[in-house]
C-alpha cells in the first residue's frame, strides 16, 4: 500500500486529493494536511467583501467531504520536509503541527511515498510598511475573514457618504512585485456597483493603483483581443472599463509605505508621490509559505528544494535569461522536483522559471513588475495532472510516463462580475489561451486570438454565478463531480 501526502487543500491540493481519493482511496492511503478545517472558494470572496454574500456561502467543512472518498484529513500545517528520511527511517516524511482536531500545537512526523506541495501563497503584508488588515491600514479580500472585515469598513465609508462626507477608495496592488491584479480589478468594480446601488457614487473618488506597466497586463504581459474589426491590446479594453466607470488609475507603481490615510508610491519613471484614501484594498505580494527542508543527517537543504521566494523548484528551466529570450518551454510540465522524484508542487506553490511580464525597475533600482499569476483553472489542472501521474506511478510502476499541464498549454478565465440580481448585474469576462505566451506557436501575439477574448455584459455575469455554484458543487464531491472540468 502506498501513501500519498498532500500539503494544502486549496484549489490545486483539493483537486489532487479528490481525484487520488476517487482513484486510489480504497487501496492506498491518501492524507491531506491543511491548517484550516474549511474549504474556501476564493474567487467568491470578492462578493463577501462587498456584503453580497455571507462567508458561509463560500466555505464548507473538509473532513466530512474527504470521508466520502477515504481521504484522511489532518488539520495541521506542514513545517518542514525530510525527503531522504532520517537516520531512523528510510522513508521521506513531513513534520507537521496540528491547528485543530483537539490536538492544536502537537507535532507529528507524517511519512510519505509521494508528496504534493500545494500550500499556495504566504500573504507577505510585511513587505510594505502599513500594508494589510492585521498590522496596517488597508483591507484585503485574500481570505474570507479578510473579506468580511473589508465589507465592514466599506459600509462605514458608505454611511459617511450618506451623511454628506466625500470618500476616496484606492484599490490595487500593495507592492511592486504583486500578482493577482484580477482580484483587485474585480473588487474595484464591485465597490463602484455597490456605491451606485446605495446612491452615493457621486460622493466617491475611485482610484486604481497597480504595479502593471499598463492597465490590462495582469502579470501575463497583457493580451491581444479581437474587437470591432481590430486586434486590440487589452490595455484599451481595460482602460475603457475604468473610464466608463469614472475610475482613475496609477500604473507602474510600487507602493513603498502606507500611513493612516496615505499611500506612498514610487513609479517606473522615478516619480515619487502619494495618494490619500479613506478606504483601501491592496493585494499583498505572495511568497512561499516558508517550508524548510533537511537531509538525512538533519542538515538544511531548503535552498536546494525551494527558490529564494519560497516556492518549490520543479521541472522548469531556471537558467536566468533576458525577457526577449523567454520561451514557453521554460515552463514546467510535470511539476516534479528535479532532486526528489516523488515530490511534486502544484498551483501557486511551484516556482515559476521567470516572470511572464517584462522585468522592469525604477531609476532607483526598485523592481516594479507583476509576478506570474497562477489562477484557479491552471491550479486545478496542475493538481489533476499530478494526481494522474502519481496514480500511474503507483499502479503501473516507476517508469510510467508522467502527465503534463504546462501553463504554456493551459488557458485561464477571469470573470469580474458585479451585482447579484439575475438581470441587474454585469461582468467583464476575459479568457486567455495560453496563459504563458508561446511566440514560437503564435509568432504575432504569443496567443490564440480566437480563444483570447474579453467582453462586457450580462452573459459574463451569469457565467460567474454558474461557476460559483458549479465549483462549490464539484469541490463538495457531489454526484457527477468528476464530469465538471477544472
Amino acid at each position: 500500500m502506498a501513501r500519498v501526502v498532500i500539503l494544502g487543500a486549496g484549489v490545486s491540493g483539493h483537486t489532487a486529493a479528490s481525484f487520488l481519493g476517487e482513484w486510489l482511496g480504497k487501496k492506498h492511503e491518501i492524507i491531506v494536511v491543511t491548517p484550516n478545517s474549511q474549504w474556501n472558494w476564493i474567487p467568491s470572496n470578492i462578493w463577501v467583501g462587498v456584503g453580497k454574500m455571507d462567508a458561509s456561502e463560500v466555505i464548507f467543512g473538509l473532513e466530512s467531504v474527504y470521508k466520502k472518498i477515504n481521504v484522511k484529513f489532518k488539520q495541521a500545517k506542514a513545517l518542514s520536509i525530510y525527503p531522504e528520511g532520517s537516520i531512523d527511517t528510510e522513508s521521506g516524511f513531513v513534520k507537521i503541527e496540528y491547528t485543530g482536531q483537539d490536538k492544536a500545537g502537537q507535532s507529528e512526523d507524517v511519512e510519505y511515498d509521494y508528496l504534493i506541495n500545494a500550500t499556495g501563497p504566504k500573504l507577505n503584508f510585511h513587505m510594505t510598511d502599513g500594508l494589510g488588515p492585521e498590522n496596517g491600514f488597508t483591507s484585503s479580500v485574500c481570505t474570507y475573514s479578510h473579506a468580511q472585515e473589508a465589507n465592514v469598513k466599506l459600509n462605514e465609508s458608505i454611511e459617511k457618504m450618506k451623511n454628506g462626507e466625500r470618500q476616496k477608495f484606492v484599490v490595487g496592488t500593495g507592492h511592486g512585485m504583486c500578482t493577482c491584479q484580477g482580484a483587485a480589478f474585480e473588487y474595484i468594480f464591485n465597490i463602484e456597483h455597490v456605491l451606485k446601488e446605495n446612491g452615493v457614487r457621486d460622493m466617491a473618488d475611485l482610484v486604481w493603483i497597480s504595479n502593471e506597466y499598463e492597465l490590462g497586463d495582469f502579470g501575463m504581459g497583457g493580451m491581444h483581443l479581437k474587437r470591432g474589426g481590430y486586434i486590440t491590446n487589452g490595455k484599451v479594453f481595460t482602460e475603457s472599463i475604468m473610464a466608463e466607470r469614472g475610475i482613475s488609475w496609477i500604473t507602474g507603481a510600487h507602493v513603498s509605505k502606507i500611513e493612516e490615510g496615505n499611500i506612498f508610491y514610487e513609479q517606473l519613471d522615478g516619480n515619487e508621490d502619494s495618494v490619500d484614501f479613506d478606504f483601501s484594498m491592496l493585494i499583498p505580494p505572495f511568497g512561499g509559505v516558508g517550508l524548510k527542508a533537511y537531509d538525512k543527517h538533519g542538515d538544511e537543504i531548503t535552498d536546494k528544494i525551494f527558490a529564494p521566494n519560497g516556492f518549490m523548484k520543479v521541472d522548469a528551466d531556471y537558467t536566468p535569461k533576458a525577457y526577449e529570450e523567454y520561451r514557453a518551454s521554460d515552463w514546467p510540465e510535470t511539476y516534479q522536483n528535479p532532486l526528489y522524484k516523488n515530490m511534486f508542487a502544484a498551483g501557486i506553490a511551484f516556482a515559476p522559471p521567470h516572470l511572464i511580464s517584462k522585468p522592469m525597475s525604477s531609476p532607483k533600482g526598485t523592481p516594479i513588475n507583476p509576478t506570474p499569476p497562477r489562477t484557479g483553472m491552471p491550479s486545478g489542472m496542475i493538481g489533476k495532472a499530478i494526481a494522474k501521474s502519481i496514480r500511474d506511478l503507483i499502479v503501473r510502476g516507476e517508469n510510467t510516463p508522467l502527465h503534463t499541464a504546462s501553463m504554456a498549454n493551459i488557458g485561464a478565465a477571469c470573470v469580474a462580475s458585479t451585482g447579484m440580481g439575475f438581470f441587474n448585474g454585469s461582468a467583464a469576462a476575459m479568457t486567455v489561451y495560453p496563459v504563458v505566451p508561446d511566440f514560437e506557436k503564435y509568432p504575432e501575439y504569443g496567443r490564440d486570438t480566437d480563444l483570447t477574448f474579453g467582453e462586457v455584459g450580462l452573459a459574463g455575469h451569469w457565467i460567474k454565478h454558474v461557476l460559483h455554484h458549479m465549483f462549490l458543487y464539484k469541490a463538495k464531491l457531489k454526484t457527477g463531480w468528476t464530469l465538471i472540468p477544472e
Partner: protein
C-alpha cells in the same frame, strides 16, 4: 463679475482617451435576448479553452 464655469471637464484627462461604449453597445450588454446568445457563445468559447487545455 461673472462666475467662471468649467465646461470642458474631460479633455486631456486620463479618461478622455479610451473608447467609451455608445448607447447601442450598452443596450446590447443588457438586452436579455442578445445576452442569452452571448451566454451560449461565451460558454462554448470557454469550453474550447478548457478542452484545448487538457
Amino acid at each position: 463679475m461673472e462666475e467662471k464655469k468649467i465646461i470642458n471637464k474631460r479633455a486631456y484627462k486620463q479618461g478622455y482617451y479610451p473608447p467609451i461604449p455608445t448607447g447601442m453597445t450598452k443596450f446590447f450588454r443588457t438586452c436579455k435576448i442578445w445576452q442569452f446568445f452571448r451566454f451560449i457563445a461565451l460558454n462554448l468559447k470557454m469550453l474550447k479553452v478548457v478542452s484545448k487545455s487538457h
